[in-house]
Amino acid sequence: MRYLFRTHYQQDITLFRHNGDRFWYGLLVLLVLVAPAILGEFYIGELGAVFIFAIAGVGLMLLVGYTGLISLGHAAFLGIGAYVNAVLLAKGVPFLVTLPLAGLSTALCGAAIGRPTLRMSGLYLAIATLAFGSIVGTVFQKWTAVTGGFDGFAVPTPTIFGYPIEGATGIYYVSLLVLVFVLWVSANLLRSPTGRAMVAIRDSEVSAQSMGIHLARYKTLVFAVSAGMTGLAGGLFAHYVRYLAPDAFDVLLSVQFVTIVFVGGLGSLRGAILGAMFVRLLPQLIAIVRDDLPFGIGRLPGLEPSLFGLVLVFVILFQPGGLNGMWLKMKQWFRAFPFKRQTSFRRQKSYARSERLR
């Protein structure tokens, strides 16, 4: 068992709690860096996609897991990022400029949508983003002059300082770099006063407000940051798919993003990455076992969305901590080895919390 003995206030806000953390995360980074030398092209492509989804997942985790707001329109932000990046690249703007621009423009869109709706309860944000997502999806289809409509849009190969980033491996490394950057930004944000304000808003809006936190400002800021990170993911997503189709950014994709956050575990950055792995691997798993399932279940249309729905329902009902919660429980089990009791992980009895006052 490891006891953390705090000898300095600085220890409360360090990025890594102890040397064990540093060792294991360092090993993980080393492993992902050498992975392209070991794994085949297909697996590297899939791992790159996991990274891209994890970037969006981290963005959404800041919003849902730490601020307690929900967005059902993040697929639209991914789409905006993807199209901004691809269209600017096609016009000859260098990749090192287009990718940040993809993030910035989506952040602005997020602020524009968030500002008016965030004055109301979080429910309105869910509804407004749902509407926004479906409007943006229609715009992608109808604005053929820019997006090419259903003919699709071929994404040019990006170059950095004259070196073309080609193939799955190139995108893999760029995605990894952006993911590490996004994680670093989020971790720093969370240990700053802004991050503490976010958590306070999540736990109780009224208490946060009475502590002097400007609700609308912080909520809009978080929504913009979250949208911006998703826009970055969108820019990379364009290179991952190489051919943009306007109907890829629908409500189902938004629900997948929220599934990342819920399945991974609310309120943990590690959860966002675990969730992204789950969401990307589930369709692959379905594809593998599809033909072996009895009663022709594998050939049913709409199998994938319903499985996502089922997983979501089961996680919310029976495992609100998600994959991260399971990991923590497992760790606790080993740490306390023979002393695990029936009541160790029992959930507290919960009561209806009303936000109304009359």
Binding site: V64, G68, L69, I70, L72, I113, P116, T117, R119, M120, S121, G122, L123, Y124, A126, I127, A128, L130, A131, F132, S134, I135, T138, Q141, K142, S204, E205, V206, S207, V255, V258, F262, L300, P301, G302, L303, P305, S306, F308, G309, L310, V311, L312, V313, I316, L317, P320, S350, Y351, A352, R353, S354, E355, R356, L357, R358
Partner: protein, 293 residues
């Protein structure tokens, strides 16, 4: 004259579509007022109700009125069970957990309906299908009129239920203050499940009324998104507001389809919703409410 008739026609069609949105929104509002949950699967419950009615009327050859009533009862029982077995477990979890839970349930309902009834559009015969009435030179479809009349009748029934019956008054009490209702001996949990049942029954009625106008298929639940516009315009908490909001959305949508180029009609309801949130987010019929810590 021709133009005026056309405009009246559009208004009636829009009002009919709007009544459907209003009925779905009514389901949202009933549940939201009572339990502070929003059922994102309301549109899918309507789809299930429509399919149940289709089974009873087209497959088992029950008369329209008997089959419809039975379908409403079955869907209401389903709504009761949904609350009693699923939604009651998430009490105390944050609001967005309920949003995701009902969204997930919607996906499951769609898959179940697809497996049971197939993915093709179906329809059953109603007394109103393909009939028209001539009102002073104006040709109106009976199907559209039946929707409007059905909605008005339902509103009257609901109004009487909530103001005159013991259960209805108990529901109002439980919506206003749970704790006080408990102290008065009202079985609040049962009451909440009954509200879910009513809301599911209303959704089923919407599905039945809609069936002569548009066919029943697995994806008709997406109408629920348009119903959000109706609920938000009405102020999310006002029952007459949601119906008026629905009619507004329906009529605006018809005129957008008539005046604007193709492609605008499908985004009108969403655009109206966003516009409403920008201009007057508390809705047309807002109740002033504070917040509790």
């Amino acid at each position: 004259m021709e133009d005026a008739a056309r405009i009246l026609q559009l208004i009636v069609n829009g009002a009919a579509a709007g009544c459907i949105y209003g009925l779905i929104a009514l389901g949202f509002v009933l549940i939201y007022k009572a339990t502070e949950m929003v059922n994102f699967a309301q549109g899918d419950v309507m789809m299930l109700g429509g399919f149940v009615a289709f089974s009873l009327i087209a497959t088992f050859h029950l008369p329209y009125w008997v089959g419809g009533l039975l379908a409403i009862l079955i869907t209401a029982a389903f709504g009761y069970a949904l609350d009693a077995f699923v939604l009651r477990r998430v009490i105390g979890q944050p609001q967005f957990a309920v949003v995701m839970l009902t969204l997930g349930l919607g996906f499951i309902f769609r898959a179940v309906a697809g497996i049971t009834w197939g993915y093709d559009s179906v329809a059953f015969n109603t007394p109103f299908t393909n009939k028209t009435v001539n009102v002073g030179g104006l040709v109106l479809g009976e199907d559209n009129l039946s929707i409007i009349v059905g909605t008005v009748l339902l509103c009257a029934v609901l109004y009487l239920f909530f103001s005159k019956t013991r259960v209805g008054v108990a529901m109002q009490a439980a919506s206003q203050n749970q704790l006080a209702a408990y102290y008065m001996g009202i079985p609040v949990r049962t009451i909440f499940s009954l509200i879910w049942a009513i809301s599911a029954g209303v959704a089923c009625l919407a599905g039945i009324l809609l069936s002569p106008v548009s066919m029943i298929d697995v994806n008709m639940g997406f109408l629920g998104i348009k119903a959000f516009a109706a609920a938000v315009i009405g102020g999310f908490g006002s029952i007459p507001g949601s119906l008026i909001g629905g009619v507004i959305v329906g009529i605006v949508e018809q005129f957008a389809g008539y005046k604007l180029p193709a492609g605008f009609q499908e985004v009108t309801s969403n655009a109206v919703l966003l516009l409403m949130l920008f201009v007057r987010p508390q809705g047309l019929f807002a109740e002033r409410m504070g917040k509790r810590v």
